[in-house]
């Protein structure tokens, strides 16, 4: 291999730009049909939620006592609920809370949505716990894992109930509950990935250089575990949405009159037999489609990343 005499290394060094790398990641997604379908569904809901005010003339709170429990009509595309509120608006504003906006308090909100934040915080805590357990091993590992095992032993719904009952119903508390429920699974996954990656020689090379454990965990190990973690995180967003639906159904989610999908189903349930299934139907379809969309996205990603193993 002859070396060219070049004075300035910059001239020869090619670095792929940030945008190029993002585009490469995106094209992996699009290469899989499953992932593309999933992406379409998820994007539909995300975009509807973001642009909600432009997609409907009604607000989710507007009540029209003259037309309760109506089916789809030209004025209300999906119909109305028992208080005459437009179902389509309640759907997309409901999507907002789950996916796009997190109301922290009366006047203050942060972008992201409860499901997303629940998973993000669970990821942060879970990854740290998993890395530390996997890398250090020994007592730290044993104690952490047994504690997390204990948490996983409680049935999920029960755990949600206990936490929400203790903390009270609000969006932030839902996020906290999702974190507590989601952390053990993520920690376990990250731990098993760490146990495997820890044996690689580049980790040993880093240890030989005297790098600190935190450097090794976050710079050497974590980036190589990102594949399975991303796929798992996507699935968890789906679980979180489903959990929110359940909590809402039980009356423990975001308090009314917020358009929470779960509580919409709960309210609408009473009117199914009376001939107006719409109030219960559409939110159920919404929950199902979003969860399925996320699952498809996760599956497609996993397929594509395994293809070149």
């Amino acid at each position: 291999m002859s070396t060219s005499i070049v004075e300035d290394p910059e001239a020869v060094i090619q670095r792929r730009s940030f945008f190029r790398r993002c585009w490469d990641g995106f094209s992996v997604l699009l290469a899989s049909k499953t992932a593309t379908v999933g992406l379409i569904i998820v994007l539909f809901w995300v975009l509807s939620a973001i642009f909600a005010p432009f997609l409907t003339p009604y607000t989710p709170l507007e009540q029209d006592w003259k037309s309760p429990n109506e089916g789809p009509s030209p004025e209300h595309i999906l119909g109305t609920d028992e208080l005459g509120r437009d179902l389509w608006s309640r759907l997309i504003y409901g999507a907002r809370i789950v996916l796009v906006i997190l109301p922290v308090s009366e006047d203050f909100w942060i972008p992201g949505g409860t499901a997303l934040w629940g998973v993000i915080v669970a990821l942060v805590v879970g990854i740290i716990l998993g890395l530390v357990s996997g890398y250090y091993g020994g007592w730290i590992d044993e104690i952490t894992m047994r504690l997390l095992d204990a948490m996983m032993a409680v049935p999920i719904i029960l755990l949600y109930l206990i936490i929400m009952a203790a903390l009270g119903a609000s969006a932030v508390n839902v996020v906290i509950a999702m974190t507590i429920v989601g952390t053990p699974g993520i920690a376990r996954l990250v731990r098993s990935l760490t146990l495997d990656i820890r044996t690689r020689e580049y980790v040993r090379a880093a240890e030989t250089r005297g790098e600190t454990p935190w450097y090794i965990m976050f710079v050497e190990i974590l980036p190589n575990a990102r594949g399975p973690i991303i796929v798992d995180a996507m699935l968890r967003v789906g679980y979180a949405i489903f959990a929110m639906g359940t909590l809402g159904f039980l009356g423990l989610g975001v308090p009314p009159p917020s358009p929470d999908w779960g509580s919409m189903v709960a309210k609408g349930r009473e009117f199914i037999l009376a001939g107006s299934p719409w109030a219960a139907l559409w939110p159920s379809v919404a929950i199902a489609s979003l969860v399925v969309g996320l699952n498809l996205l996760a599956d497609g990603l996993r397929e594509e990343s395994m293809r070149y193993q």
């Binding site: 290394p9 090619q14 020689e201």
Partner: protein, 704 residues
């Protein structure tokens, strides 16, 4: 070794113009092209080549094991006169296992872990012949005895994991021989085994050859092994056969540039860096999709290539009755293989006095011990009451390394060399003894050492595929130690990285590449550049070339030599290939079961006096020269467990010398620890046998 050249035995397997391709998403990829050879009864044909040359593919093609997407696209395979290509599975099944048997590389995967060995062996018989269980059992025990398995009836009842690697391979060979096959194919059967175990298995194969007269195909990448075992040799490159003929003739007069390149790239036992050169083959093996159809496939890497080679594919040229090579210039290639490798011996440095040595000491260990506590399963130990057991990985090792010198550490698996390295670098805490580096005590782990010290001791690792972090570019990974140890100011880091890349003979374009875009040899070079980045005084190389192809090995070894000479770093070089260690090191330490049993200057180790273990190791190393005479000293038994090493001299359970060379049948070896015997120039041997007796031993290798 050669079957008489008068009447040739009848041919068992005829392969004619065989081509095999694999179906992929991008179309058919040709793995093997136009291969022709014949295997005769009682003859062993060696199939030699590097990774990706297609030798295993040919074997799979013969037994129709190609998988769902492999297919034979051209040519014929005739087995005992019958055509094998185009047969149905049912027909092939009748032939396979009965008259045609195969031995694979990894015995752990060839044997079923949940079935008893006896049952597996008997199944081979009962499946193909109408035979009673008792008769089958008797024949299996017989065959196990024939392959020198100790205690055959007991082995029949055991499971795979209860016997050692060498024994597993013997069982696999026994399984293959049970039906008395006409053709036996062996795909790298000894690659996964230790040197001494490999030698015993190769002995076995030779014995069986003379006993059973089976035809044999022996696939390997190791020139030494193939020189020992085969009668005929076929050299493969990039899916094509480039040379074939009797093994002595090919070694004596290789006619294809690739074969010559291979021979020049491998150090023979006894070569040292002072008096010979290794010539690597430049470039890399072309991927199957990039192989030209109308040119010589070796032309891009060939020193003799002409325009004709790039435009026309050469045919096999006959050089003598049985020797042919695929090269336009085969007959004219002139004969200067081995002699040109010698260069004038550099003058040996004058003997240093003890004071001189002391002043230059870089690393010194005294009585170093590294024990791993064994987790006991009993409840008693949970309370800390039971007896603590330790795996004595490194037991009382004392070494000295001077500035700029290279110490080679040799030993088989379980000898403690990896643990020794871990202890030196500080990845594992030492259990006892003293360790000094640059005058500072470093018996603590790496996290407690000072950065200035860590910087001076760096490592090169074995496996090129996992030595680099797949998520970061080459430039970033080499820059990290530079930044961490602040060897140059911040704005000079990039040019320093480029300088290091040049030092390992990679162009600056590699800066932005990811590890998955690099070949094995290139990754290993980046690993070396990374180790050099902190400009260390000591570089520890843990089997740096074992996972590389032969032609690439030579390049990396030459690189390490260059680094030694330019930077003046001291090195500790760990390997199990004795020829490479001898070539590369100034001093050598031989380890067995956690102890150093012999240590001294490299050229003195390879001549008597020897430690009995060193003698056995040297007699086991396969030498790439069919005419070299090598003593045959084989060790009985297995390596004892490091949990419970034998009393007295650790080697006494397997020592072939103690009964004859010591009074009272060597009883002293079982009771007392052996003393250090001093030979000349700092060469010392840990043995009860007095040095005068050891000096009288015959040398193991007589060069041709």
């Amino acid at each position: 070794m050669n079957v008489g050249s008068g009447t040739r035995a009848e041919s068992v397997l005829d392969v004619e113009h065989l081509s095999i391709a694999y179906e992929t998403r991008k179309g058919d990829v040709e793995a093997v092209r136009d291969v022709t050879f014949t295997v005769r009864q009682g003859e062993t044909v060696g199939l030699v080549g590097e990774s990706g040359c297609g030798k295993s593919t040919i074997a799979f093609g013969i037994v129709n094991f190609l998988g769902a997407n492999g297919k034979i696209t051209d040519g014929h395979i005739r087995f005992q006169g019958q055509e094998l290509t185009g047969r149905t599975q049912a027909e092939l099944k009748a032939i396979r296992g009965h008259r045609l048997a195969m031995v694979f590389q990894d015995p752990m995967q060839a044997l079923n872990p949940s079935v008893r060995l006896g049952d597996q062996l008997m199944e081979v018989l009962t499946c193909h012949q109408p035979i009673s269980q008792d008769e089958a059992r008797k024949r299996c025990v017989d065959m196990l005895r024939r392959v020198n398995m100790p205690d055959p009836e007991d082995v029949m009842r055991r499971y795979t994991h209860q016997i050692s690697g060498g024994q597993q391979q013997r069982v696999v060979i026994a399984m293959a021989m049970l039906n008395n096959p006409a053709l036996l194919i062996m795909d790298e059967p000894t690659t996964a085994l230790d040197v001494t175990v490999e030698a015993a298995v190769l002995d076995l194969i030779e014995e069986l050859k003379s006993e059973f007269h089976a035809a044999n195909i022996f696939i390997t990448h190791n020139l030494g092994v193939v020189a020992r075992v085969s009668d005929q040799l076929c050299v493969m490159y990039a899916g094509q056969m480039v040379e074939k003929g009797p093994v002595e003739e090919i070694f004596h007069r290789p006619c294809h540039p690739y074969t010559r390149g291979l021979m020049a790239a491998v150090p023979k036992l006894g070569d040292s860096k002072a008096d010979s050169l290794l010539y690597p083959i430049r470039g890399r093996v072309p991927a199957p999709a990039d192989r030209p159809r109308n040119a010589c496939v070796f032309a891009p890497r060939c020193d003799y290539a002409t325009d004709r080679c790039r435009e026309e594919r050469p045919r096999m040229v006959e050089i003598s009755a049985e020797h042919s090579a695929r090269c336009f210039y085969a007959e004219d290639i002139d004969e200067r293989p081995r002699t040109s490798r010698r260069r004038s011996r550099t003058a040996m440095p004058a003997e240093k006095t003890d004071e001189d040595r002391q002043a230059e000491t870089l690393l010194q260990s005294e009585g170093m011990r590294l024990y791993y506590p064994k987790e006991s399963d009993s409840v008693v130990s949970l309370f800390g009451l039971g007896e603590k057991k330790f795996v004595k990985a490194v037991d009382d090792v004392s070494l000295r390394l001077a500035k700029g010198r290279t110490l080679g550490v040799v030993g088989e698996s379980g000898c403690g060399k990896s643990s020794l390295v871990k202890g030196l670098v500080g990845l594992e805490p030492m259990t006892g003894g003293e360790l000094e580096f640059l005058g500072v005590d470093i018996s603590d782990t790496v996290t407690d050492r000072e950065l200035g010290l860590i910087k001076e001791m760096q490592m090169v690792f074995q496996n090129p595929d996992s030595t680099l972090n797949p998520s970061y570019t080459v430039g970033k990974q080499i820059a990290r130690p530079i930044r961490r140890f602040k060897t140059v100011p911040k704005n000079k880091v990039k040019s320093e990285v480029v300088r290091l890349l040049r030092a390992v003979r990679l162009s600056a374009a590699y800066y932005g590449r990811l590890p998955r875009q690099l070949s094995g040899g290139e990754k290993q070079r980046v690993g070396i550049a990374r180790a050099l980045a902190s400009r260390p005084d000591l570089i520890i190389c843990d089997e740096p070339v074992s996972a590389l192809d032969v032609s690439v090995q030579a390049a990396v070894i030459n690189l390490l030599l260059e680094i030694q000479q330019t930077f003046g770093s001291a090195m500790i070089f760990i390997a199990h290939d004795l020829s490479v260690v001898r070539y590369f090191s100034d001093d050598i330490a031989v380890m067995y079961l956690g102890q150093v049993v012999e240590i001294g200057p490299a050229d003195l180790i390879y001549d008597p006096p020897y430690h009995p273990y060193t003698e056995a190791l040297l007699s086991a190393v396969p030498i790439p020269d069919p005419e070299a005479e090598q003593a045959k000293i084989r060790l009985g038994g297995n390596v004892p467990s490091a949990l419970n090493p034998p009393q007295g001299c650790r080697f006494h359970t397997r020592c072939p010398r103690r009964k004859k060379m010591l009074p009272d049948e060597g009883k002293i070896c079982t009771v007392e620890d052996p003393p250090w015997r001093q030979a000349k120039s700092g060469h010392r041997i840990l043995c009860h046998i007095p040095i005068k007796e050891l000096e009288k031993m015959d040398p193991v290798v007589h060069a041709a």
